[in-house]
Symmetry: C2
Subunit: 340 residues, 2 copies
């Protein structure tokens, strides 16, 4: 017995041709029930396994979606990938992962790899490191469907799924004020990334709406880390008129802030309110438990994949409308910002 069974083997056994076997195996409309049955039985008996590589070469479709993320080690992306993968499998697709490790060089290589592999579509969350967009433009030129999620860019006119970061920032800020805090500070992130910028804008918009003055001294620009949170608090407490609440751009930053405030024996939420962003798993377990904004990670993955599916279908037609799906942020208020 040869190691790999092909449709030709099945055909020979049944005194028919590869074409017929192929049709039977693919549920082709023009095939008799009888032959189909015989083929399927023979395939089973011979332990036939369709060679998807050959199939892909001939049909021009691989059934593979390439996904580029900064790192599989970051909770958020693992979770989004989970959502993508589940939807993909349900629709008969497989998912190839490529990590950029936040490097532009790797991101570029990832795109190249996926184009070569003739994947059916590419989904990307951009690396922090930024250079030019030629790799994305190449992909577009090759008619490759692309969907961006979370980390996207305004400079490119592309289909994307993000959450409404502006609204989220607005919500977080409004909530703190509603809880009676008077001076709300914000610890921001790198402003060349749209997500972080939008959160800051949301914060500003909320203050304006609530008739509160914007004070540039109450903005600390950090690098999205525990340390940034600590440093921010040190800075804030040194101000002549320190804030009494912080909206942090992300949960780890908020965590650092909490640690530093505790270190100064400042009582949370009584004397100081904190809200973070991302709903990281640790948030509900620390004390006080951390208020935050949930980003619907798994759902984001699902939506992004569905958008991809649409693009793949539309590929034949010349439909060109760019779609931007914006998910609603979900506030999760816990002890760190709730005064009874």
């Amino acid at each position: 017995m040869s190691l790999t069974v092909t449709i030709a083997d099945i055909a020979k056994k049944l005194n028919t041709t590869s074409a017929t076997v192929s049709r039977a195996l693919n549920d082709h409309p023009a095939i008799s029930i009888r032959t189909k049955k015989r083929v399927l039985q023979a395939a089973e008996k011979l332990q036939y396994r369709r060679n998807t590589v050959a199939s892909s070469l001939r049909s021009g479709q691989t059934g593979i979606i390439g996904v580029i993320i900064p790192s599989a080690e970051i909770n958020f992306f693992g979770s989004v990938v989970h959502g993508i993968e589940n939807m993909a499998n349900k629709n008969g697709y497989n998912v190839l992962i490529y990590q950029s490790n936040e490097s532009w060089e790797h991101e570029k290589k990832g795109i190249e790899t996926f184009l070569n592999a003739r994947v059916d579509g590419i989904m990307v969350s951009m690396a922090k490191e930024k250079n030019d967009y030629t790799h994305f433009l190449n992909a577009r030129q090759a008619k490759m469907p692309i969907v961006f999620f979370d980390r996207t860019s305004d400079e490119l006119d592309i289909d994307s799924v993000v959450i409404n970061d502006h609204k989220a920032g607005y919500m977080a800020t409004t909530h703190l004020v509603a809880q009676g805090y008077k001076r709300i500070a914000h610890i921001s992130g790198p402003q060349h990334l749209k997500v972080f910028k939008a959160r800051l804008e949301g914060y500003k918009a909320a203050l304006k709406k609530l008739g509160k003055p914007f004070d540039a001294k109450l903005i600390y620009n950090g690098d999205v880390s525990i340390d940034a949170g600590r440093e921010a608090v040190k800075y804030f407490l040194g101000l002549p008129k320190p804030p009494d609440a912080i909206f942090a751009v992300e949960d780890f930053t908020a965590l650092g802030a909490i640690k530093e405030l505790k270190h100064h024996n400042i009582s949370i939420p009584k004397d100081f309110g904190i809200i973070g962003f991302a709903n990281e798993s640790f948030g509900e377990h620390i004390s006080p438990s951390l208020s935050t904004i949930d980003q619907q990670t798994v759902n984001m993955g699902k939506e992004a994949f569905q958008l991809m599916l649409k693009l793949i279908e539309e590929k034949t037609r010349k439909n060109k409308t760019v779609q931007k799906i914006i998910l609603e942020p979900i506030p999760v208020f816990r002890d760190s910002s709730l005064r009874k």
Copy 2:
């Protein structure tokens, strides 16, 4: 200009043949520097992109490694995948992900998918749900290199990378005794999974070594969850002679235990010691910070991939030695078990 450029296009342009172009593109030894240069230039100019699907069909190698994990949403697996992916990319491989969602059915389908896709190797961390091993045996029969990591089985004679769970259990238990705790309890996990069983065995071995009696009442068999930790503590505190320390099979279980102990106003680590397992990210941020055992996740991914590489190379030779790599657990002692 046609949408896809092939080596035939390059050949035509240079008045040569596909074979020569292919050789130039693949750094074949028998090729003149001059032709190679010309081919590479032409390829660049025409924006040629090698079709890896065609290449795979012909060469029989896809350069793809299939990875099956229970869920990309679980921290631990995201982290291992990170390790695998990094090594894979360095060695010119890509990684296909398949999630079993702890279901045997999905796991089986994953194997089937990967066999059809003719991946160069499959890496698996088994689903909790167990049935038979036919899918793994099928893969073996198809001469597919397989490496298991973390969740493996003794019933299959397979290459694997795990950490020394027995030793880890031993370490954790010994540590608690060394800190002066007198009655050490254990919250265990499903015993049909080797990892959990080994941790229990390590616990027992430590007690024996230290001349402490084993008391079956001090074992609570949970399902690896926060709730299991809570329930375990309720049970333990109801005993005539309750324990004064717990080695929990996993961090979330430990977390549940801590929450319940706090609820009973029992002081940690003064009156009660706790150590968990897995070094989940939340552990260092809760209070008291959680002692735990680190599993070297990223490193596990690296090692597993290197083992895979070896299997792929050995495939031509008939080398059949099964390798089991056992990583050292790394104790991380924090406040929850450290009495000064």
